[in-house]
Symmetry: C2
Subunit: 255 residues, 2 copies
């Protein structure tokens, strides 16, 4: 953890919250969230687990089935793999698992649908993976959000989430890319800066951080090139999703 | 294992093979298969893993994507969960995983499409789950196959598979039902007889047996009623599929 980075980030984010006229004091809320996260039991009876994000989370889910634990509605990716394992292992807890990832989403897209698609579901565990489109759409000229926009937008999203969902366990997944397919040198070093920004946002919120980038970096070798894990560098293969699910369950300790 | 049952069955099946004019001597082929299975390494470079069966295996797979390791083409069920975990764990082996389950299939339906959908894919590991429609469609008046028809048809399917796929590792999954939904008293005791028939076929073929019925029987309790694992008594929920995947990986030792 880069404590210097976190300190600088906290100041920037506090300023952002003030400038944005936020109704909560970001710092204290985040400290409370951190305390709650540390003290929270693993999973309790009736807990709601929600996966939010972009196409990586979406993973071809059936959006016509809004009910919990619906097989097709969880998609074919890491969210479904995690949810099914949680439902299998914690069979007595009557867990409710949802996927609300939507392909192409960036932080502002999450923000626009946050109340209906996140807060109203009252998750006890909220897992978010967002960021790759924030840079990808910028590189392709469809969006002009900067790294600072990403960090501030993401932080503000969490700042309004924590008071709306008392006791929520936040899980922030590291945005990642593999060096292949659509991922060219043009993505760097900005993508590294965006990962660092996501990490600062997670730390400030007291969230559990799932290090998907270092996980994939460790998994790439001569026998398993980047394409094995994500054919286009962005969207994981089945193997990539399985690795993500395994790491998510290990890091959160919820498996 | 019911050795008396196996002995009786072997005689019946040998007779069946002779009557059917099979080109191989069923006994020796099966003994060879058993020896191969015991001696086989877990998984090797480039191995093909194929899941065959009915709707439980199908699990909503995209049938327009015939290539290996295609996320949507593996469906949303136990086959996809197993395949993704194998691909994630054995990342250096260049495994190729296929799902060719088709909703509504019985043994005769598998037989009719066996060459194209099984033999031509040259699986090194062939996992089969078949049998619930063989009784369900009979109970609903759409089919008239007896328990003996099921046993003989299943045994003959394997008898022609083993010589066509030298060294194949056979995994036979126990047909199962949960006592809820569509599964009424009318299913018994015939369903129990059909499970025993599948077990005899598996033993005779030297296949690995995955005991899904006892697994689900053990999983049902006051907190997790039958519906938690299979809403209609036949088609598993996400939790049910996850439990199946976990058991399959444990029993086969391939995880």
């Amino acid at each position: 953890m880069n404590h210097d980075g976190s300190t600088l980030s906290r100041r920037t984010l506090l300023q952002s919250a003030v400038l944005a006229g936020g109704t909560c004091a970001l710092g204290p809320v985040m400290n409370t969230a951190a305390a709650q996260e540390n003290a929270a039991p693993a999973l309790s009876m009736g807990n709601v687990i929600l996966f939010q994000g972009d196409s990586i989370t979406d993973a071809g889910r059936n959006k016509d089935a809004p009910d919990a634990n619906n097989m097709g509605a969880l998609g074919n990716g890491y969210a479904q793999m995690i949810a099914s394992q949680l439902l299998g292992v914690h069979s007595g807890l009557k867990l409710q698992c949802y996927n609300r990832g939507i392909s192409g989403n960036k932080v502002p897209d999450l923000d626009a649908r946050w109340q209906a698609d996140t807060v109203d579901l009252k998750p006890n565990v909220l897992s978010i993976l967002i960021g790759v489109n924030d840079i990808w759409h910028k590189l392709s000229g469809k969006y002009d959000g900067t790294v600072a926009d990403y960090e501030e937008g993401f932080a503000q999203l969490l700042a309004k989430t924590v008071p709306a969902l008392p006791g929520v366990k936040l899980v922030i997944c590291e945005p990642f890319v593999l060096r292949c397919g659509a991922v060219t040198d043009e993505w760097f070093p900005e993508f590294i800066e965006r990962r660092a920004a996501a990490r600062r946002v997670a730390d400030l919120a007291g969230a559990t951080w799932v290090p998907f980038q270092s996980m994939f970096d460790d998994a790439v070798n001569d026998e398993t090139p980047p394409e094995y894990w994500a054919g286009d560098g962005v969207h994981p293969t089945m193997a990539g999703h399985a690795l993500m699910a395994k790491t998510w369950l290990e890091v959160t300790g919820l498996g």
